[in-house]
Symmetry: C2
Subunit: 686 residues, 2 copies
Amino acid sequence: MIDFVLLIVIAICIIALGLAAILTRNLLSQDEGTPKMREVADAIRVGAEAFIKRQYSTIAVLAIVSAVVIFAIYYFTGQQAIALATAAAFIVGAACSAVAGVVAMWIAVRTNIRTASAAQTSDGKALDFSFRGGAISGLIITSMSLLGVSLTYIALGADPTHTPFVIIGFAFGASFVALFAQLGGGIYTKAADVGADIVGKVEAGIPEDDVRNPATIADLVGDNVGDCAGRGADLFESTAAENIGAMILGVALFPIFGVNGILFPIVMCSLGLLASMIGILSVKGVDGADPMDAMNRGYYITAIISAFFLFGGVYYLLGATPGWMYFVLAGLVGIALSVAFLRVTLYYTDHHYRPVQDIADSSETGAGTNIIMGFSVGLETTAVPAILIGVSLLLSYWCGTMTGIPQGGLYGTAVATIGMLMVCAYVLTMDTFGPIADNAGGIVEMSQAPDEVRHRMDKLDAAGNTTKALTKGYAIGSASLAVFLLFNAYMADIAKLTGKAFEVVNLANVNVFVGALIGAMLVFLFASLAIRAVSKTAQYVIEEVRIQFKDPGIMAGTKKPDYARVIDITTQGALKNMILPGALVIIFPIIIGVTMKYEALAGFLMVATITGILMALILNNSGGAWDNAKKYIETGVHGGKKSEAHKAAVIGDTVGDPFKDTAGPSLHVLIKLLATLTLVLAPLFI
Amino acid sequence: MIDFVLLIVIAICIIALGLAAILTRNLLSQDEGTPKMREVADAIRVGAEAFIKRQYSTIAVLAIVSAVVIFAIYYFTGQQAIALATAAAFIVGAACSAVAGVVAMWIAVRTNIRTASAAQTSDGKALDFSFRGGAISGLIITSMSLLGVSLTYIALGADPTHTPFVIIGFAFGASFVALFAQLGGGIYTKAADVGADIVGKVEAGIPEDDVRNPATIADLVGDNVGDCAGRGADLFESTAAENIGAMILGVALFPIFGVNGILFPIVMCSLGLLASMIGILSVKGVDGADPMDAMNRGYYITAIISAFFLFGGVYYLLGATPGWMYFVLAGLVGIALSVAFLRVTLYYTDHHYRPVQDIADSSETGAGTNIIMGFSVGLETTAVPAILIGVSLLLSYWCGTMTGIPQGGLYGTAVATIGMLMVCAYVLTMDTFGPIADNAGGIVEMSQAPDEVRHRMDKLDAAGNTTKALTKGYAIGSASLAVFLLFNAYMADIAKLTGKAFEVVNLANVNVFVGALIGAMLVFLFASLAIRAVSKTAQYVIEEVRIQFKDPGIMAGTKKPDYARVIDITTQGALKNMILPGALVIIFPIIIGVTMKYEALAGFLMVATITGILMALILNNSGGAWDNAKKYIETGVHGGKKSEAHKAAVIGDTVGDPFKDTAGPSLHVLIKLLATLTLVLAPLFI
């Protein structure tokens, strides 16, 4: 018997997929621009599809091996009953995540050209197209995640107190794929970008996205495979992991709420998806207006509707406790946190505020001071978010306690996380809009379209940069709340396996302290390797571009550079260099857990998470601030383009690239991967 | 009745002070070089003394206010009996730390000129002088720390089970002064350095230490006030804090070892001081030889003698347990860790190995890739040290457990820490040698001495750079061990105050988790502000130098630049900009402790410490690696000086400056300050 509320979830997902289908059909019927545009767009599409195909083939092999290992671990640790189910859930989660990534990329490479074409006549229309392209991804990814969890839950027997512990395989599968997708895509996109910039802008002195630069197409491909596919997979697993974690916590409340407490997370997320649909449909591009206005309005609409749904959902599902209003409050804390995170990120990465202006100022005295200031700003950006996360956790925990039910505090933090993730589909839409606009701008530039078209796209591109920074802030904020409940799910899982309570992770115990130290270290080591991977891959790109530039025909613009060769080199480099960091973060926790057991591993997990959150903030925000300091100087301040300050700012931007688009976003995935990995492999650590 | 072993400590300290006096007398009788050299050296001495005077006046005010606050806290939380004693111990600790810093600076500004003079004829003699100058500081600082703790212990009644809890004030006083000394000195030295480099080397294209650059003297002053006085205060408080922490742990073992277990740490440190004296006297400079050979030999001699003393000391003091050999093993783990840390630091910062070479390679493609690679190397350097610390903690804990006494494991880690700190005086000697050699090199350069003299000094200067990097590695390694025992001292202190056991710091508790998150964040925020302070102060320097360079007489070399003005500006800037970061790290833990109480504060403290250790490694080692990559290129590889690769490497070096000489070393102090602060203010947090 399938629970009635599950039918609501499935229905909303089907509506969302239907809306996505309508939007897709509508979009594909639009004009594809000039032949020159199509030529560029085709090259991007072919490159992106080739990369994704090779990347996911690699990931598929890794995933199948892992599934076998998971099966073996369960089988040989006395968990034969659920060995196959867990391994199967892992494969389904991995497959869904892969599909989410592919869909995001598929839509993006088809929307970019249509956006570029629309920009020939109207910037409002260009916004509409690129935003709807983003919406298609957002809707499909979110509903895939919800459908995946719901159907797996049903397939595994829908036993409220048992099934949540089995579908953790789904979350781990999603994280597993997301890690490699984000890492590989992130390395690809930045290696191509850094390579193109260093030889093109710095050495040869030609503008960005110049047709003569053989790395430009690879750079544009990168936007699709790194930003679209990567963040798609990231937020897919966020929703999946958080839903499953909250379901596990719901098991403890089964005596009070019954199955409602367990299904609460997915029902609320589906209502959030409904709210996002309304928000998405409310966005209308207006010629001449700031695109951020329309998108911000849509965001606030989504948030407000979500708040109402939250009220209704809590009343309907958790109304069994007289203190249910406190759960509503906890959820509102989550929604408020999502808004606060966006504002803080905006402050640190927008040139209207002090931090970016400071970086631009310090560019006057050269690259050295630009880097020092940018790094200092990056470190500073941890302060307010950490306090916000801390206050939100304490507040939502307090709200939960006030409901008067046992373990209510913990469930309060879960409700806050759910509140934050309700707007997920809308945020994903804004996020995917960014690289689409960026790509369309590249197409316009490379097809040598008239100046007015470029200006239209520049505005959209700038908005895209802002939304990309904002959504990274959102992703890390929601991850920080989600992991706290995932820790507790891990502890509940261990308690279930050992049959005794596991409520204390004693940092004063020497094993736990050492575990924590190694956990924090792993984050830095991972970031090091992710950054190094970009550097290594960029070296291959740089060498190839230099060789091609030696051909006088290419620099004169009479001969077409060999784009495909650079794409191929970048693809190979990215796939090769993603293996080591990826493997490391899977092997390390297993070693710690097997040798020092579950409590030390919990210390490892928690401190790795804290460090990971803060480090991701540092990397994302410093990168965003450097980028925008450069763009700010390009508006004419501090001497504008071609000034010494601009040269310094370009170096800062180059440094920030692997920070904000490779290491930072990969850390989002890392912290959730660690949480789901420890959950799934728990039988090994007891 | 003063215990017999305390007399040994005092006797060894007096011998060390006597040796320091002899070395000083000998050194001061040496030739002071050419009038030109004396002119430069006088300017440095006057500048350094002026800065130290103003800096310590500021610190004195802050310390007196803090002493009053401490008194009030104790008085009004029912601890009237020890309020005055704790506040007095704080003042004594602060005063001793200040004296240690002043002594280090006083010797350094008198040794530099004599080293420069000796370099006119012999590089062996130059090494002897500079190394002995370092030794004077090392001996005085270490014996001051031991004498301070011993005499305060006696003055406070020498009650074995009570006094250790009162002299924590001494350790906090020492940390307090060390923080501001290191921070202010670190800001000063790097602001002057960055300012001098940016306008001199980058903008005007004149060499380092050129007499025409008005910031050169300030730069040389900085070596004395930042490196000498700063690290002097740092290691002074390391010994003090560690000794006191270990004494507190010894209280728990009183039934077994009596007063011996409590006095064990200071006795062992004094024996280590004796070993260091032998090591120091064994160092003899040889013309034409690598100075590192002589210093390394001396280090190994010190380490081996310490190992023998360790054996004897454990047998004599802790022989009451049949398993005493395991304590010897634990101590050997500490000595081995100190050697291992030096080797790892060498690997990461010496150009003979892969990391520095990678950075040099990546300079070929510009400053962007140089920075990316350097930062990646910095992040990577956390891996092996973290594992080494983890293994040492586990091993020494295991050794302690094997002795079979209750709480033996914890005491095992204390013995390891003591083992590591036995070589402290020798390490301090090597450390202070670095800035003295650097300064002497500057004097030789500025007095336009003949080329052969410069070459002699260059070799010594290079060795000084290596020892500076190594001793930073040692400082952070010993701090990491020390803090684990300081945590436990804090927990013992809280247990004593509340009258109930405090053995669990539960990271799964939401308060503790939030405390931990804020603790980790504080490290990043502090690093941000420390780096920013350099940047801000450097801006003042840059502006002033630019103004002076507009005078054609100065650039032509016919008019003397106004060195004093730059010194004055740097002094003011450094003192102004050290207040905010310094105040923050004192206020934050108090807020957390007062609002969320002692367990959350313990989480804060532990995770701040983990993050602080790793962040210090990142900052120190990346800075050292960038510096040496630049020096490596200057040897002629990748096009040598004036190549594009060199320009890129200079930018990397500039970025690394505030990392390795301001923020990194200040973090060493920070983590110990947090530990001693929480200990002393414990009554507030219950």
